[in-house]
Symmetry: C2
Subunit: 399 residues, 2 copies
């Protein structure tokens, strides 16, 4: 069961993954159930806003011809609440009581704020002074009909959802979040609540990947745990391939007797790679089976964490028409890293964004799991080199 | 129905809101349902990690006394897969086939990687060379028993969830996300899917607040829409007060005839304020009724947006033991803002975090709704002043 493994660079692996055709699927959902989704169409203003002459204040509307010689007494013709429309045209000497946001009749030239008026009886009001501005927002003053409101590819935040609502959109097209299955392999894995057993460990990579999928916009379908048996692993993988767009596995990728994922990769529709020139995660494997992308990560927690961001997250984003989350940059290492590696090493770290100082999270072991929660970036130690204190490193910010 | 309104500063309003006793409620949930929640207890390592001597590689375990004179032939005593334990002690001249992550027997001194071995028959292996390191992680090498893993107040991201799982925690105490009700008031409001009617507008503030609540860690209970009738408004408010920790309303707070929220504030258990020295949102009102905080925002979209972040979001966070999300800072305005206001004005804007350049989002009107989605900060124009191009402004980054 030994397989030929041709180690490729991280960049080459990313290129191979990027070359896989992933078909974004488009869904039409109620706007108010689309928060956090990515717009799959351009959206235009279906009408102007305001759609009618709108009063900016609570107050009294008057005709242009009456806008002089204040203080002045007016007869109140009617009350227009927000949502109402006037029932009769305003006559000279009359005023219409109008509320903020209400439709101002065409003949009204100005709305005088309530604060400079005084009601004299139920039908009359004294307007004490005029105002410089009309206090009326004209039709289309804010947004003209036909204006592009939001572009395809926009992630719908609360502001975007409110804008779609404002224009009466009840449903909207968005990219369906990819359906993602997670498989943690290993006969040693204990489930939450199970009593501890000598030699075994609690499954932490399954929950790690499940959380990362949810945090990064995937639709988590299932987190399966499988023992180290080929049939069992194959069966679970095949089942998830049927229902998922992406399957992420952890464990079962290296050269041990029980590492089946590599075998399944070789038998797949499209083999991508099974060895990377990087640590942790050198046995990372990827393939396509039945139009489902399978990214098989190492069972080491930090390899699993880094591998998710470098190789699985970009696919989750691509399904939604979004760029990958990791942002490349530079940082300054606060302590030297002197371990020389045959392969480029990627370590999780914390960067202080003000200073650019990068501090290794934890001990830098592949098995590191105590500090994943505080990492906000990865930094790279190129193969064959060490980095001194205050040395510059390439970094990737975690989204 | 005219009420006395004593305008207070934004700072004073924040202090009044902060003085309200909000009781965080603690829940115990399965760890794997706690992603995104805030830890309500310190968590310690219940056992060391590794909990047993752990093999770092797939390979062959040997005794210290056999670690010389390679290449050398060994008899394979047994196979230890991850999760298994050895059945018999290793004898000199024997080697144990051991998988990555498996428990290394106490007597084994070193694990030789598979790559430098060659199986000669089913029971024997040739180990070609020794290795410098033991390739064994000793008990507690990564995390000692009793070490604090996570502190109270930590937001549980995927890394934290995986860490809790690794230590066998099945349930964990977290702060319950506050139950938040939203009420949009206004007879003019049309619901999604309703046909357009002259003089009316589609409800966009309700969905805006609903989205903001969800984005900022609140548990959205209901988004109600009420017409401008006192009884209806009161009834809905009372109903939501019964089931919610926080109620956010929009509209119905200014001096118009149909603005009831101010009246209800005056009749409440604890009146906080009903007028702020700020624009937009000067009629913002807050009170406590039946131990529920009510934050009544203006019906103007940008007032609603800013008011949420300045006055409601801090309460959502406080219920979870978290600091408020807005982060104060400074920025440089890319275009002059020359409108002089009687009150401090807060405008939504986009800051380029690299350069600190702050650009007004949209037109700076209170009614602005077309650009809320692209704002990532607010900036302040102090009352009675204008800001020139390249002038420094106080900013608050939106979380």
């Amino acid at each position: 069961m030994y397989l030929f493994r041709n180690a490729i660079s991280r960049d080459e692996a990313s290129r191979l993954l990027a070359s896989v055709e992933l078909k974004p699927k488009i869904q039409e959902l109620p706007v108010n159930e689309s928060l956090g989704l990515v717009l799959a169409e351009d959206v235009f203003a279906s009408f102007p806003i305001p759609a009618f002459r709108r009063s900016g204040y609570d107050g009294y509307g008057i005709l242009a011809e009456d806008d002089h010689d204040f203080p002045r007494q007016f007869e109140i013709s009617e009350h227009i609440a927000a949502g109402d429309v006037a029932t009769a045209p305003l006559q000279s000497g009359q005023t219409v009581r109008i509320m903020t946001g209400a439709k101002v009749p065409n003949e009204v030239a100005k709305v005088i704020m309530l604060e400079v008026t005084e009601k004299t009886d139920s039908d009359h009001v004294l307007i004490k002074e005029t105002m410089a501005r009309s206090n009326i927002s004209e039709i289309g003053e804010e947004i003209e009909k036909g204006k592009k409101l939001l572009s395809i590819g926009t992630k719908l935040n609360a502001g975007a959802i409110s804008l779609l609502n404002a224009f009466g959109y009840a449903k909207i097209k968005s990219y369906r979040q990819p359906r993602v299955g997670v498989i943690a392999t290993g006969s040693e894995l204990l489930q939450p609540g199970e009593a501890y057993q000598e030699g075994r460990i609690y499954n932490s990579n399954g929950p790690l990947l499940a959380g990362l999928v949810k945090e990064n916009g995937g639709q988590l379908v299932e987190v399966a745990t499988v023992s180290d048996e080929l049939e069992n692993t194959k069966e679970t993988l095949e089942r998830l391939i049927k229902t998922c767009d992406l399957v992420i596995t952890t464990g079962g990728v290296s050269v041990g007797d029980y590492d089946f994922m590599a075998v399944m990769a070789k038998e797949s529709d499209q083999f991508l790679f099974n060895k990377l020139k990087m640590r942790p995660g050198s046995p990372t494997t990827a393939f396509v089976q039945n139009e489902t992308l399978v990214v098989a990560l190492s069972g080491n927690p930090s390899a699993c964490f880094a591998g998710f961001y470098f190789f699985a997250e970009p696919a989750i984003k691509k399904f939604q028409g979004l760029p990958a989350g990791l942002k490349a940059g530079k940082g300054i290492l606060t302590a030297g890293y002197h371990k020389i590696n045959e392969f480029d090493r990627y370590l999780q770290a914390y960067i202080d964004e003000e200073t650019g100082n990068v501090t290794l999270s934890g001990h830098g072991q592949s098995s590191e799991l105590g500090s994943l929660w505080q990492a906000n970036c990865f930094f790279k130690v190129p193969h064959g080199t060490k980095v001194e204190k205050n040395g510059q490193v390439e970094i990737w910010m975690i989204p």
